[in-house]
């Protein structure tokens, strides 16, 4: 280890939940002024360790010592840890959508004189903080109107306001696109220059390799090793080896597609924003999917990919202004989600907390929720069949949980994602639409999920994958569409797609460019095959 003294030392931390030992004897040493990464599989205990550190789980609910700046500390809540200079930004953002940027930054910390909020001072300070994080927005803008990337920056501005010494970021880039992620990582490097130490948890190992000075690896609730990245010689493969205990030869399973006929087609699909009349979120989109095919959709955040998919999925988003949908050669109208499910369409949402899960439910009821009919006789649920089905998916997806009777709220983020996937696999759709299917999922599990997607395709189903991670789209898809500002701007077959030309098509605005790109792509790969 280098000369810099330790800012934080966690010694022999053990944390138990009823029936689950989440951490056993975990130790972590973070040097002053470094960026320290924590890696591990889903459910390894990363978030739990950080919650112990930041007082979410107060002193007394865990065993072991925390030494911060040379002294043993015993935080009784988050406020106590914040007073000491430790600020955590959770895996799920904790901003209040209705409030403005400035109000969110100062929430719980309001600048007031005699009980009255000092708005001038608040806004002035907010502008200053926003400048530090490189966000050019009016502090009075409501949070709900800015994208996730910017919200993440607001979270950091909020942390900076609290005189932070140690900043903890739990999967800060999971929901961000490449550009926003890059910006965020730059910002963390900038904070390091200013002497702020950070701990970052991420499943995007390329980011870790780029930014971290050292990495601590946690596996099954134990600290395995700490690697010195700054000293060199640590690459993604080395980290993976630590995480899963063996090396992973490739990130994508071998797969040769067996393409069948075109069975799903959408023509001139046009959708209006649900609140803003006249604003189109999908502008005359046309695309098709063949049996056995994995079709990727690339686009920047806010390009309208999710909106397009949800509107196809039983008009669950926006107002449909025009367009035809053809399924197995027949035109169909799907007016609501249950009709879409009956027609054989499934949609795995990108927002699992808000749209994908009922956090009060247990794993088995969640698994069967989208197709309860399958295990119900005369509307009565067969609970044995349900248990058996859910348990089958627990095994095949290797969801880390003691039993499928546990509540989904207790699962780690990545394992919740697996349950959402199980729910739609159980529904057995002919066309499965996956919106950011591997968000927050570890490398090993990603590989398995890719395998499952490919099996679905091999069984003659169609799969649509929407993803912000271009390598994922390139590795998995047989054909990729690009979307920009609600318009499909390109269509590339697997062999002609590269990060560069995808990126170019994803940022081609204007209809002229869009039209120019489509025939160019169509003349080669996919259209010829149709």
């Amino acid at each position: 280890m280098s000369a810099a003294p330790a800012l934080l030392e966690m010694r022999q931390i053990t944390k138990e939940f009823p029936g689950v030992k989440a951490l056993s004897d975990v130790s972590l040493t973070v040097r002053r002024g470094e960026v320290h990464a924590i890696c591990g599989e889903n459910g390894a205990g990363k978030s739990t360790l950080m919650k112990v550190l930041s007082g979410v789980y107060p002193h007394g609910t865990y065993d072991g010592d925390i030494v911060f700046e040379g002294e043993i500390v015993q935080f009784k809540d988050i406020r106590a840890s914040e007073r000491a200079g430790i600020v955590i930004i959770h895996q799920e953002l904790a901003l209040i959508p209705e409030l403005s940027i400035a109000e969110n930054i100062f929430l719980g910390n309001e600048r007031a004189r005699g009980g009255r909020i000092d708005w001038v001072g608040t806004n002035r300070r907010a502008i200053e903080l926003l400048r530090h994080v490189g966000l050019r927005e009016d502090p009075e803008t409501p949070i709900k109107t800015i994208g996730v990337g910017k919200q993440q920056l607001v979270e950091i501005a909020k942390a900076l306001n609290k005189d932070v010494k140690l900043l903890i970021l739990d999967e800060p880039t999971a929901a961000l696109n490449e550009e926003d992620s890059a910006h965020l990582l730059d910002l963390i490097e900038g904070l390091r220059e200013r002497g702020i130490t950070s701990i970052i948890i991420s499943h995007k190992l390329n980011e870790i390799e780029r930014i971290a000075d050292s990495v601590t690896i946690i596996r099954d609730g134990r600290s395995i090793e700490t690697l010195d990245v700054a000293a060199g010689g640590v690459d993604e493969d080395r980290i993976i080896k630590g995480m899963v205990g063996r090396s992973l030869e490739s990130r994508f399973p071998e797969h040769t597609p067996r393409l069948g006929e075109t069975f799903f087609e959408v023509q001139d699909w046009t959708v209006e924003h649900p609140q803003v009349a006249g604003r189109l979120v999908c502008k005359g989109s046309s695309f098709h999917v063949r049996r056995g095919e994995i079709v990727g959709f690339a686009g920047l955040m806010g390009a309208g990919r999710t909106e397009l998919m949800r509107s196809i999925f039983g008009r669950s988003y926006g107002t449909l202004l025009g367009g035809r949908m053809i399924l197995d050669g027949r035109e169909v109208t799907l007016k609501n989600v249950s009709q879409a499910i009956d027609a054989g369409i499934g949609y795995v949402t990108e927002d699992r907390k808000v749209l994908g899960l009922n956090l009060l439910d247990d794993i088995k009821t969640t698994t069967t929720a989208a197709r309860l009919k399958k295990i119900a006789k005369h509307l009565v649920v067969d609970r044995n069949a349900e248990f058996a089905a859910a348990d089958g998916y627990r095994r095949s997806l290797r969801t880390k949980t003691p039993s499928v009777e546990e509540g989904v709220a207790k699962l780690s983020g990545g394992n919740q994602q697996k349950v959402v996937l199980a729910k739609w696999l159980f529904a057995e759709p002919e066309l499965l639409i996956l919106d950011e299917p591997t968000r927050g999922i570890d490398v090993g599990a990603k590989y398995e999920i890719y395998g499952i997607i490919q099996q679905l395709a091999d069984a003659g189903k169609g799969v649509i994958v929407v993803s912000s991670e271009l390598p994922e789209l390139l590795g998995l898809s047989d054909r990729i569409y690009t979307i920009c500002e609600g318009r499909i701007t390109g269509e590339l077959a697997k062999h002609e797609a590269t990060q560069e030309n995808l990126m170019r098509l994803m940022t081609t605005t204007g209809s002229a460019a869009g039209r120019a790109a489509t025939p160019a792509a169509g003349s080669t790969g996919a259209t010829a095959a149709r």
Binding site: S24, D220, S338, G356, N358, L359, D361, L372, D391
Partner: protein, 426 residues
Amino acid sequence: MKHLKAVFGNDTRQFGMIFALIALIVFFQVRTNGLLLTPTNVINLFQGNSYILVLAIGMVLVIIAGHIDLSVGSVAAAVGISVAIAMRDWSLPWGLAILFGLLIGAIIGAWQGFWVAYVGIPAFIVTLAGMLIFRGLNQKIGDSDSIPVPNGYQVIGRGYLPEFGPLTGYNNLTLIIGLALIAAIVTGALRTRRNQRKIGADMAPMWTVVVRLLLICGAILAVTLLFASGRRGTSFPVSGLILGVLVLIYSFVSSRTVIGRHVYAVGGNKHAAELSGVKSKQINFLVMMNMSILAALAGMMFVARSTASGPSDGVNWELDAIAAVFIGGAAVSGGVGTVVGSIVGGLVMAVLNNGMQLLSVGADDTSIIKGLVLLLAVAFDVYNKSQGRPSLIGRLTSGRRDRPAVEQPAPADPARNISETVHTEA
């Protein structure tokens, strides 16, 4: 403690509530020198509270779906008076009058359900309006007067199971029903176990199942004998029978059927439910409509018991029903609650009321104590949740949950460490 848990499951909430009920019963039994558990008093207690418990059944579904219904007392009163008038002025036979009352309940429910589900007005407001509207309707129809109901009709509120068969010293029908219930529970438990073994689910140890069965059956037997030994002619009340049947039906519907699942799903996360194909509007409509139908039934039962329908019937019933549901472990934010829990909650309130009456505690003190009990019960629940203990839906009848501790699944890769099994004890 560990053994208690093994028998009753890890569910502190339900566990706590049932013990609170037992403690209350023991307390009053001792303080009243045994007056509480005499056949006459228990029969009275049931007859005097069955309509609130009927309301609680509907209310728990409304609350699980994330709504509230403040109008139940007024709806009950409006239906009660209509039925009384129908029998007096149109000489409708009482059987038809009951159907007529249920129909009115359904129409009122459709009206409220329409505003809640399809127009999207919060149930709090719709039913606050309903509370005023239907109270007014009751007084308008009945001219703020009291209207008596015929004897035949009074059976649903004051009647008892008939006497027949050999003289055993007990009411034979009550005995038969009690024994049938015990038989059903035992075979049900055995079948569940067989099925669990078949599909390889986790099973509770045999002894916990046996102890639990013994306790449940013992309790049923005791209650059966208590009712059956009532004065000749007074045994198990018909209103209790109606309640029992409703509890069975609604427990089954809420926990075992597709519709029940959908109610929990809508209350837990409406958006996620809709994206899983649940028609949330339909569910909201049904839940509100069902509540008014049950309110109609409760109103009719009350009128039958008090032999007349009056202008102040049903005042404050909504509060008793809502209190029962929350004491029974439902969450204000929806998605959580059980029918059986709410009945237990309702019985806690009923025993409190009755016990304090027997001790001649004044209405003022009774009200204060009931308020405190509601607050403490919910505080207990909140505290449990903040401790991260399981406190959600109680499933006393399910055998799978009650493992004291569980293992992490063994990782598929043998190179990994296998996590330890941990026994935690609270």
